[in-house]
């Protein structure tokens, strides 16, 4: 069985590595450094770490000021407080100015678990996608998370990175070439395509495995970059297979599924169905229990593919 690592752990490691390479990197947190793993950076580079306290709006405002002054700023809290609470600060002070801030939001989605619906961001990708110039990333595993975070540091401008609390399987080899805006194909297939994002990519791969046993040949795409989306990968899936199932630990409103459907409608009409959170709030529970109850497991994904027939 593959190793399991939470993408927030990958974030902590990537920050320490980046901090050694680049003096311009500054990290902010809002009293959650032990959970977002920015404490790893704070331990090594205390002079470049600032705790904003429980004040996310001001944290993202300060991040803008630091970035406009030449710093590359990584500013972290839970996704609900970043994309949710601080939305308008991110929109006006970071998006509108093009500030070089990397909004690294952890504890996204239902797999926050026991903390319950108040802490389960299921709309963050939708919110961040609407901001002009915002790059939106949602890595699936440890390897792609670290590579995408480094790519985010190397590009100029605002980036939203969605990271998870729960440990998830490592699916990529260390040598895998991961680039912002270029989808990864885990598995080729000619019958249907599953386009997944974030920590459900491994569930999508498992679903394809199950379906293969039934003689259904499924392509699996990891759409780690929600924006700018790899349109070519979507169009090819629409044209070369008989239908697309999108998979996300996010509301079906405004996230991956909506973006894929938009591309298909405009450029390559295809049948699309949506595995995601169906316009409802989550609740307390273990991550696996929640994925099961809200229809986000490999079995649910496989069912969605079968239903396309």
């Amino acid at each position: 069985m593959a190793d399991k690592i939470a993408t927030r752990q990958s974030y902590g490691r990537a920050l320490v590595e980046l901090g050694a390479l680049r003096q311009d990197i500054v990290v902010l947190d809002a009293d959650l450094s032990g959970s977002t793993m920015t404490k790893e950076f704070a331990k090594v580079y205390p002079e470049r770490f600032f705790n904003a306290g429980i004040a996310e709006a001001n944290m993202y405002g300060m991040a803008a000021g630091l970035a406009i002054s030449g710093k590359t700023v990584f500013a972290s809290t839970f996704a609900i407080f970043a994309a949710g609470r601080a939305f308008e600060i991110i929109r006006n002070s970071i998006g509108y100015t093009g500030a070089n801030v990397k909004i690294c939001a952890t504890h996204a989605g239902l797999t926050v678990g026991e903390d319950g619906a108040s802490h389960q961001a299921i709309e963050d990708l939708a919110l961040m996608r609407t901001i002009p110039g915002m790059t939106v990333l949602n890595p699936a595993d440890d390897v792609s998370a670290r590579k995408l975070l480094k790519a985010a540091a190397d590009m100029q401008g605002p980036v939203y990175v969605r990271l998870g609390r729960a440990a998830v399987p490592v699916i990529y080899e260390e040598e895998t070439d991961v680039q912002i805006g270029k989808a990864l194909t885990l598995r080729q297939g000619k019958d249907y395509t599953i386009i997944a994002t974030g920590i459900l990519v491994s569930q999508a791969a498992d679903a394809a495995e199950q379906l293969a046993g039934e003689g259904i040949d499924v392509r699996v795409i990891d759409m780690h970059t929600l924006k700018p989306m790899d349109e070519e990968a979507v169009i090819k899936a629409a044209q070369e297979t008989k239908g697309i199932v999108t998979v996300e630990e996010h509301s079906v409103i405004g996230g991956l599924g909506a973006a894929v459907a938009q591309i298909c409608c405009a450029k390559a009409p295809a049948k699309v169905s949506f595995v995601g959170i169906q316009d409802t709030f989550g609740e307390s529970g273990k991550p696996d229990e929640l994925l099961e109850k809200y229809g986000l497991t490999a079995a649910h994904i496989a069912d969605a593919v079968r239903a396309m027939k």
């Binding site: 500054v26 002079e47 470049r48 004040a55 709006a57 300060m62 000021g65 002054s69 308008e88 002070s93």
Partner: protein, 272 residues
């Protein structure tokens, strides 16, 4: 610049404000006129800035957190040589660099895009932190309205600036007492302002925001103060300098018609 020259410059800035808002057909004259004397002293005496070298890495920075006072900012930047004064009449027009609220990507010299109240203050705190990280002696100034103090982010930023001991940051509160819906004390009481900042650990200076000598001496005192950020709580009058606009909430965000603009210009010693 001496006091007399600063007073003359302030009169010119006020004339520009009326021209901008008249030609723009909309905008915020009241809070621009109340902030004029302080901004004039900042731009033409206090700050180390150069309109012909606007990106000097060692420059001081001014953030207009009360971004609706953009006419005053544009007037100062034009007078300081950041862009041609003739462009002031394009204020709020399509394709103009002079957006309704300041945009740093549209106009060089604008240090931070503002308009959504409170956010400029937070950005200024970040800029002051960056200066300190880089070992720079340059300073950051931020101007806030008094109604703006009702935004929660203001007190988050205030706490952070104090916590990090940012003595390279100077905030000015343009306390004209009025906001869109009326007097602060009727809409949402923000007073006592000085006591609030004192409680947050700031060095607080209170002054008449139209008294050039007082502005000069408070800014000098702020520069000398070490260990904590300084706030200047400046008592001002909305619409200062134009008789029919003074202390009138109705002139918060309204353009004068031609007759009113001509009268305003006459009172300010200029022509439209």
């Amino acid at each position: 610049m001496d006091k007399k020259a600063l007073q003359e410059k302030a009169a010119l800035i006020r004339q520009h404000i009326i021209r901008e808002v008249y030609h723009g057909g909309s905008g915020h004259p009241g809070g621009s006129l109340s902030a004029t004397d302080i901004m004039t002293v900042l731009y033409f005496n206090e700050m180390n800035i150069d309109g012909h070298n606007p990106l000097d890495p060692n420059r001081d920075k001014f953030v207009l957190s009360k971004g609706h006072a953009s006419p005053a900012l544009y007037a100062c930047l034009a007078e300081a040589g950041f862009f041609p004064k003739e462009d002031l009449v394009t204020f709020r027009k399509l394709d103009s660099c002079l957006q309704g609220h300041p945009s740093m990507l549209k106009l060089c010299g604008v240090e931070m895009s503002t308009g959504s109240l409170g956010q400029g203050f937070s950005a200024a705190v970040g800029m002051a932190l960056a200066n300190r990280l880089d070992g720079k002696t340059s300073r950051v100034y931020a101007m806030l309205g008094d109604g703006e103090l009702q935004e929660g982010i203001v007190w988050e930023a205030s706490m952070a600036a104090s916590h990090y001991g940012l003595d390279n940051l100077c905030v000015i509160v343009d306390h004209n007492g009025l906001q869109i819906d009326g007097w602060n004390c009727d809409v949402m009481r923000v007073m006592p302002i000085a006591d609030k900042f004192r409680a947050f650990g700031w060095n607080v200076l209170e002054l008449d925001g139209h008294d050039i000598d007082a502005i000069l001496s408070c800014l000098a005192e702020a520069r000398q103060h070490k260990g904590t950020p300084t706030v200047l709580v400046a008592e001002t009058h909305k619409g200062k300098g134009v008789s029919f606009m003074e202390d009138q909430a109705g002139w918060h965000g309204k353009a004068p018609n031609r007759e009113q603009a001509e009268q305003a210009m006459a009172e300010l010693g200029g022509v439209l």
